[in-house]
Amino acid sequence: MMARFLAPRFLALLALCTGVLAIPATAQNGPLRLEITEGVIEPLPFAVPTFVPGSGTSGQVAQDISNLIAADLSGTGLFREIPASAHISRVTSFSSPVQFADWKAVNAQALVTGAVDTDASGRLTVQFRVWDVYSGQELGNGQQFVGTEAGWRRIAHKIADQVYSRITGEGGYFDSRVVYVSETGPKDQRAKRLAIMDYDGANVSYLTDSASLVLAPRFSPTGDRILYTSYESGFPRIYVLDVASVTRRSLPAQDGTMSFAPRFAPNGQTVVYSVESGGNTDIYTMDINSGASQRLTSAPSIETAPSFSPDGRQIVFESDRTGRNQLYVMSAGGGEAQRISSGEGNYGTPVWSPRGDLIAFTKQSKSRFHIGVMRTDGSEERLLTASFLDEGPTWAPNGRVIMFTRETQGATGQAGLYSVDITGRNLRAVTSGGGASDPSWSPLQ
């Protein structure tokens, strides 16, 4: 729960039963502004002095929340934390004036101050403000989030999203989750099951057991359901899983065919996927409620890995109709497709950015794999990564960051999750506590 407040007193605070609920706020940008469209080479220095704990709260929760906000921001590669050991000022009261000179002296350009308290019923309230140290002005208004102590990570992520958003002018992505395939065992005996975690690798839980091979889970546009492919029946079929109840059902499929590579349309009701019949793979859509399907492509070549544009009007997919895998765009109802990729090598698994401006893809060229992005007309192709095997990009909710699978070479090869900025900077391994592949990033929660 969030309420805007007029300094120094909060005017509105509403109770919340479970979890955390946020009302979108309009970022009011002050003079401090980090333009990240062209990529940031010099990260912006910031400080998050430990939030001031109230009488009902342990200092540990306040410390944990401050640390996580700093970790979220630093993890973008766009910000650099000024560590506590360098701080001159100590913030001991949330309402006292900020000693800007002390923060200027340590070169902090942005400052996040806050206070944490827990009431008798265990409800955690976190207030925060974002400051432009050089102008001495507040960026946006102070806000507060209310939740449970157990939900402190989500509150910290929400605050970090606000800070990121106010400074960059772009949406955040920290309060989000990733569904992926957890992998255990050697390469020739690998067990796979669906798992879900926070975007930063915390709070891993499993959605299926490893009795059946599962592949490529995909979040619904609202994050409430997951589409995936499972061999539970002995043959690949598409399942839809309800995240809250962890119950699943299979989508209708014709006997003797194989269905895979599903993704939701932006309406959350249509599914686009591949059907293989008699050795030939084409693209279909299905209404997830009625089960009615429609065939969109009809070619002897392989058509697979379809992904809707965020406006729901177009579908990008891969096809080997020219002999090599290339990317094509067609209307959401099928029909003639335009080839958009033009470079050497094989292109696969195209995914439309949630902002609509770019398409991420996997490229295989000269025995190397790359994650790349191109404009939706195929222009301005940019390769972001290179390794023995990179594949399966998924977009952060704000369209700034891509997560993907990287598998290492050889008999002991293992798959893991990585993220990279769309400028190609800030490549990072995402901790998931073991082998992991096929990430799908949720929308902001």
Partner: protein, 173 residues
Amino acid sequence: MTFLKTVTLLCAGLALAACTSPDRFGDDAAGLNGGMGAGMGAGMNGSASDPRSPAYFQQTVGDRVLFVIDTYNLTPEGQRTLDGQAQWLTTNRDYNAVIEGHADEQGTREYNLALGARRANSVQEYLIGQGVPASRLRTVSYGKERPIEICSNEACYSQNRRAVTVISVGASS
């Protein structure tokens, strides 16, 4: 030495686990696989010396054909193996078969699933052409999900680009 001889030797030798791998996962619809995975040449799989046994099919007839990179057309060696498979299936009418198509790790997951399906289908069509009733055959693709060899070079890739005919007990046809 041909691929087939190599495979046969491997099956007879140290790499038993690898050669039985299509059965190890036991997640096929067919009922026989769990039993086959439990022990080579024993139980429901029968003795390899019995020409009517699935073990004989697997080891002597040859249960798999291999493919050149990024292709799904059958090699002459592959066709010879499939001639033997067709003959065995025609003789042993109590058995059905699931043809599992596989790819090496070079390529995306989705494309390899589609490629594995093409390979399985090539085998199915050939067997049907040799007189095996279509009703006794099914195909499934595992893409690059089930390698039997785990190195990352052509020596392993050539073994992983395969279609394996897995014998199952079916209703008599």
